[in-house]
């Protein structure tokens, strides 16, 4: 299953490192072109295949690790996104004109609107990049990440992927139900939670 990460900012690099740690292959792309992406990967010691944006957009699973306001441009590059799972790692919370942009809608709904036909999963938006990368102590249990989607199948897939990346993924359901709790800055966002399990 081909997976691409869009963006080599803090989140993109953190996600790539998690893939590297788990020995899972991943493609990396930015809007600045392959050479620029390759240079960024070298700079951050990332083991990823730098690809063009076009090639990345053909991946089966695409992680959106770029600024919220750049999403529209990416979505506009294709008219039909069926057979793609979009993992929305973005937050609109810190936009200075957030209320104007969202107008009462969920940020994930806006993102979904730019990828018609895609299965959209909201995940990996709840914690700062350095925290996502950090494993404090194995005896604490797996770091909790919450996953929301209107597609049960896509949610299960990304939850499983989260597990493969070393997390304890908890699926909270539809974007407009449990998913509301993982929109910044609602109750499940910025919580340093670990699943200690039940012995």
């Amino acid at each position: 299953m081909s997976t691409a990460i869009l963006g080599v900012g803090r989140l993109g690099t953190a996600l790539t490192k998690l893939f590297n740690r788990s020995g899972m292959e991943v493609w990396l792309a930015t809007s600045s072109g392959v050479e620029s992406t390759r240079a960024a990967a070298r700079r951050h010691h990332l083991d990823a295949r730098a690809v063009s944006l076009d090639e990345a957009l053909a991946a089966e699973t695409i992680f959106l690790a770029l600024p919220f306001l750049k999403i529209a441009d990416v979505g506009g590059m294709r008219s039909d996104w069926t057979a793609t799972t979009i993992v929305d790692c973005t937050n609109a919370f810190l936009l200075p004109n957030r209320d104007e942009v969202l107008r009462g809608r969920l940020s994930s709904d806006l993102v979904a609107g730019h990828f018609p036909g895609a299965e959209l999963v909201k995940a990996f938006n709840q914690l700062p990049a350095p925290v996502l990368e950090h494993v404090p102590a194995p005896e604490w249990g797996g770091r909790v990440v919450f996953v929301a989607s209107n597609s049960a199948a896509a949610s299960a897939r990304i939850a499983r992927l989260g597990g493969d990346l070393g997390f304890s993924a908890i699926e909270v359901g539809r974007l407009d139900e449990g998913g509301v709790l993982i929109q910044a800055q609602n109750a499940l966002v910025l919580r340093n939670l670990f699943d200690a399990g039940i012995a």
């Binding site: 908890i170 359901g173 709790l181 910025l190 340093n192 670990f194 399990g197 039940i198």
Partner: protein
């Protein structure tokens, strides 16, 4: 703000110990009466056996009774007068069809007319609430859900006083669903650490 625990089986007695350990006072009652309630001396420092009638008048009433007893408990008071009732039950073995698409918490809430109904502390076997935390400054997460934001905050405050990390899931239509039997938060022993 007075707190009472209704029920002296495993859940009620575990709550009593948690309260006592944290130095938070509460009354405790069951249907048999206060003279039948036997508390360890340490627990008795914080917990007082009282008549059921008195317990039902507390500002926060924790219903530590079996799920099947919730309807009778709710109906035993004609109007709960805005008092907070905390539902710690789980509808194990109950066909969800009984709830007509709602969660068991929303179903139970209907029996407590006039109460600010809050679902909390139902998501783990009660022995787990007392198990050790692996790392420093860790607090076990306790989920709180209800349609009255102020009541949720008050119950969250009690949970915090007891040493837990409360997570307010908001309305029962969402939180009650996440906390249902078979739901994603049930049996999740989550511990929160400072960043």
């Amino acid at each position: 703000m007075t707190i009472s625990i209704i029920g002296t089986a495993t859940v009620g007695m575990t709550l009593a110990r948690l309260f006592a350990r944290a130095g938070v006072k509460a009354g405790i009652a069951n249907t048999r009466g206060p003279s039948w309630i036997d508390l360890d001396r340490q627990v008795a420092d914080a917990i007082t056996p009282v008549d059921l009638r008195e317990a039902l008048e507390a500002d926060i009433v924790i219903a530590a009774v079996p799920f099947a007893a919730m309807e009778a408990l709710g109906r035993s008071v004609q109007d709960w007068g805005g008092r907070i009732v905390v539902d710690v039950t789980n509808a194990f073995g109950v066909d969800a069809q009984v709830f007509g698409g709602r969660s068991s918490s929303e179903h139970n809430a209907d029996f407590f007319k006039g109460a600010a109904f809050v679902k909390a502390m139902n998501h783990l076997p009660y022995n787990v609430f007392e198990t050790a935390i692996a790392g420093p400054d860790g607090r076990r997460a306790v989920f709180v859900s209800g349609d009255d934001a102020e009541a949720n905050e008050k119950v969250s405050g009690v949970a915090r006083d007891l040493g837990f990390a409360p997570i307010d899931l908001g309305h029962l239509s969402i939180g009650g669903d996440l906390l249902r039997v078979g739901g994603p938060l049930l049996m999740k022993n989550l511990v929160e650490y400072p960043f």
